[in-house]
Amino acid sequence: MEHGSSKDLTASTFSLADEDHTLANSVRFTLNQDPRVTFCGYSIPHPSDARVNIRVQTTGDPAKEVLKDALQDLMIMCQHVRSTFDNAVAEFRTSKTVEDMKIK
């Protein structure tokens, strides 16, 4: 990943290679949830280049740190969905076996 640095650290554009809407749109959403973010958007400059640019502008914190936090939040969310999903599958399996036994 590349980062366009400048004097003003509160506004940056991050360019991610080999990524697309999958990552960029969810990161953009997470960033927009953050009260420190004044503006966030992403673009895919050219459809045949596997690259996304994410623009982050903040109220004062370094944009890099805010982006890092957003990624961390998404990570925690993914972990949460994973464990909730595993629990839901296990729960479904047990309820299914109980049901099957009732039929017999």
């Binding site: 990943m1 590349e2 980062h3 366009g4 640095s5 400048s6 003003d8 506004a11 940056s12 554009t13 991050f14 360019s15 991610l16 990524e19 697309d20 809407h21 999958t22 990552l23 749109n25 969810s26 953009r28 959403f29 949830q33 953050d34 009260p35 420190r36 640019n53 890099k64 740190e65 982006l67 890092k68 936090d69 990624l71 961390q72 939040d73 998404l74 990570m75 925690i76 969310m77 993914c78 972990q79 949460h80 969905v81 994973r82 909730t84 999903f85 595993d86 629990n87 839901a88 599958v89 729960e91 479904f92 399996r93 299914k96």
Partner: protein
Amino acid sequence: MDGVSYQRFPKVKIREMKDDYLKFELRETDASIANALRRVMIAEVPTIAIDLVEIEGNSSVLNDEFIAHRLGLIPLTSERAMGMRFSRDCDACDGDGQCEYCSVEFHLHVRCDTDQTLDVTSYDLRSSDPSVVPVDVAQHSESTGYDASEQRGIIIVKLRRGQELRLRAIARKGIGKDHAKWSPAATVTFMYEPEIHINEDLMETLTLDEKRDWIESSPTKVFGLDPNTHQVVVVDPEAYTYDDEVIKKAEAMGKPGLVEIYAKEDSFIFTVESTGAIKASQLVVNAIEVLKQKLDVVRPSEETEEADDQFGELGAHMRGG
């Protein structure tokens, strides 16, 4: 510093689960997350598929390339795929794609010696790894309603007397983004959960025939009539396809506001159908893992900031703010 306060933790409920089919609810999250999950399931969860074919002998009616293409499309059981290496970054074989860490070898040798047409099917493929074999369609026949005796695997080519097919195939790990043959998903869809409110007072101003007429206007069976009370009830809210037909019908009948339908924008109903390469429930789990890996890759590489001049025009643009 850490902004956990505005974070949401989604809820999951399984509706239906079979080996190759899964229906679940994902609540308290956003379309961007749901869509990321869907996109990863379709295009970025790895599976194993035949990628390289060496034809040793082919006297069938189909040409070599055609057969190689058909072989590639056969789904192979891919529980191993998450732990396997991509052959392009395998150091054991220098990206040759011929070693046990990144490939599975298949052999096929069939010759027809009878007057009866012989079907060459996925069952004729001999695998070097018992955990990576063509998906057994017959095994799932009970749940899908196929007649098991009809199942003969996936037909590759048909041979007549004297024709022969002999080949060696290398299966490799890959993702659906590179070629659809690696996609583990037959279909992955999600829909917003609809919230349907019937204006009961206004509904009661309708005659029985008008009610029937209105219910019939929906192309899917969303509404029904209670046989005892003659009240219009919601039979299946999820059958609603956001077609607006019932709303238009109500307006045409001169009863605007008869029904109000909203999409709950934080509740999603997922339908996942697998090709059989991996179980549908495992597909979801793998998708989350892949998404996590993607996030992980972005974080450390952030430290490796590159000089502005490497960007060229883009760098100049960014300096400008």
